[in-house]
Symmetry: C3
Subunit: 170 residues, 3 copies
């Protein structure tokens, strides 16, 4: 089962995914895409660490997501990726359009090969005013396009609002 979990800022999407991972009773690998670039992000990472069980295996991978997924693949396990929007941001900040495209293609290409269950967490960022600055607009475009591709590939898609899930697919 491969599942995409979308939600806005502090919508409870990570918590929902963590709960699904725990209820699966399988060994959990968390692929964390955040990098501790500043104090605020460090604080968010710390809070996420406190909220999740200490025995989870954690892989920190800001860019090479499909490689990390393939290396940690295991038919009896569940892998939680939190979150795709940070990964896209990291790729955009690399300013390497070819890699940005390639990493997304790699992710889509590796999904059918994975044997572990998969929980992909991502931010819904497209339902507000379209931002004026070109980088934010590009980010919104890339995110929307990626969500469409992943939603087609995944077995289940869920939207979280105020901590409450709505099933969009599956």
């Amino acid at each position: 089962m491969q599942q995409l979990i979308l939600g806005g800022v502090r919508s409870g999407k990570s918590r929902h995914a963590q709960q699904l991972a725990q209820e699966s009773d399988k060994p959990v690998t968390l692929i964390a895409t955040a990098t501790a670039g500043d104090e605020e992000m460090l604080e968010r990472i710390r809070r996420h660490q406190q909220e999740r069980p200490a025995h989870w295996q954690v892989i920190e991978e800001p860019l090479a997501l499909s490689a990390a997924l393939q290396q940690s693949d295991d038919p009896g396990a569940i892998v939680l990726v939190d979150c795709l929007t940070l990964w896209l941001t990291n790729l955009l900040l690399e300013e390497d359009s070819h890699r940005l495209e390639q990493e997304q293609d790699n992710l889509l290409a590796c999904l059918p090969l994975l044997q572990a269950d998969l929980l992909l967490v991502s931010n819904e960022v497209g339902q507000g005013i379209i931002p004026a600055d070109p980088l934010s607009r590009r980010f919104a475009d890339e995110t929307g396009r990626l969500h469409q591709r992943l939603a087609r590939a995944c077995d289940r898609v869920t939207m979280i609002t105020a901590g409450l899930p709505q099933t969009l697919k599956g």
Copy 2:
């Protein structure tokens, strides 16, 4: 029955809540959290006044929401709070982190004690691009966290889009 009504800008969330209040056939108390800080806000307040029945009891309370709820409590009545995002904004502008936290805790603590029916209206603000300025980001974080807490506490949660309700809970 305690209900949380979420929706974007001009989504029809206030109108939906007002309709529910009227259909209840109970005496309605409106707790309005807006303060007439500038001409635009004054205009919004005027428009809201025109849209609602003249016989409703109106309490204007920008900050001490739980106190206002407890003072206006009445087992046969329905209380409409419009809206929580303005209340959070007012608290954030006070620049008193302790009070910001305390008022939210007070709100959550008083909910199980209230005897009146309750309609809480709030803005969904977390599904667009994450804003660059720290105050907006803090506001989005606080709002998202509050919505999660209230959604757990309320009997029903509804999301309004284009005037149309979707039931998220209840």
Copy 3:
């Protein structure tokens, strides 16, 4: 059948509407509201052109939408308008409040008279942080109000997230 299709940036709302138009097996007229004001918009228009069938009749109309709808009306056809948010933006940039109001009233007034099936595509822009600049705030207000009016008038309203439709009405 008149249908309103809402969705965020790159949510797949145009693609969804195009698919409905094709599946109808009726002759399709597309009313495109985009104007090629800059390179980025030109690129978006080109991409949209590539994605749609070449035999569709295309009318480019940035402002006089109800006139275009009435001129292209045909009981056996389906008309796709893509998109209303660009049309509202074009009207706002005219800085003629009377015309802004009039064109929206004209659109609402002509809907019951149209004999063709209708697919109206529009951007959900109200579920992020309320923007600080007055023009964006006005745009969000106008869009929200228009969506409410159209949602009442249309037979079906659909919200697209990650390419996946949710029925809000009908």
